[in-house]
Symmetry: C2
Subunit: 174 residues, 2 copies
Amino acid sequence: MRAEELKEHIRDIPDFPKPGILFRDITPLLLDPKAYRQTVDILRNRYEDQKIDKIVAVESRGFLFASPIAYQLGAGFIPLRKPGKLPYETIKESYALEYGEAALEIHKDAIQQGDRVLILDDLLATGGTAAAAVSLVKRLGGEVVEVCFLIELKPLGGRCKLNGTPVFSLLSYD
Amino acid sequence: MRAEELKEHIRDIPDFPKPGILFRDITPLLLDPKAYRQTVDILRNRYEDQKIDKIVAVESRGFLFASPIAYQLGAGFIPLRKPGKLPYETIKESYALEYGEAALEIHKDAIQQGDRVLILDDLLATGGTAAAAVSLVKRLGGEVVEVCFLIELKPLGGRCKLNGTPVFSLLSYD
């Protein structure tokens, strides 16, 4: 199965979560063991020689790809969560949404100076979440090896918010 | 590493998320590749001969164990999410919390009649979430092989809410 064939397992949902948005639903891919395995394997293979110390994943769909890859690479797994969810000492990064603001937190003790970190999320849209994730990792002294997405929505230009940080997406939509 | 030794990677956080609650923080376990791998391997081994068709995981910490196990068993992965998060047709189950009410949703097309389903979450406390998960799977015609938890808080008696459904927890606290 080539990467492009994985798109057959992404379901388009019009007008979700609000009118005018075409949502890319990854649950059919998760439900198909062959497609899920192939997705994880392609990404694992991409990073297996990159000496990744830690994988940082954005709550909660990012967890679904980051955790099997962390398991297989023998990397530590670090969750980025919405404010108030992580129980220990955290740092926070806020970012703008189309309407309003959101924020992510990371545990302060999750990253050591010089750690080689892979950031993983399911979707690159406007890039606000990913830019916040990069900032959190750097503030703790980590080196961002790459920011990796299952899906990139190219017309939204999220890549431009990640200036200078390598970006990879498995599947992209024009 | 025996299962009990994994407890060394669970951090106790007093008074989180509110006064009087002792929170069991699994992030140190996730951060330690050996402990994380061992956790996943013990659970994977428990189910590898059980002909599991689908693994149902509760958002979002349940995802962290369910997704590498689904990958390894070659089982389909099904997320249970809070209302409004799943984009396709869903059914919903509400349950009581200490104060107020919560609910979980599942995609209607996620389970076929007779599917052998493993339900996985990180924590068994009062059992409300788990009972809702069992109900959702049964309403769609699935057979619940077992409900599996990383951690069980025994004094809260959550097991009793899952009458007749097999329950397993890797680590338990009195």
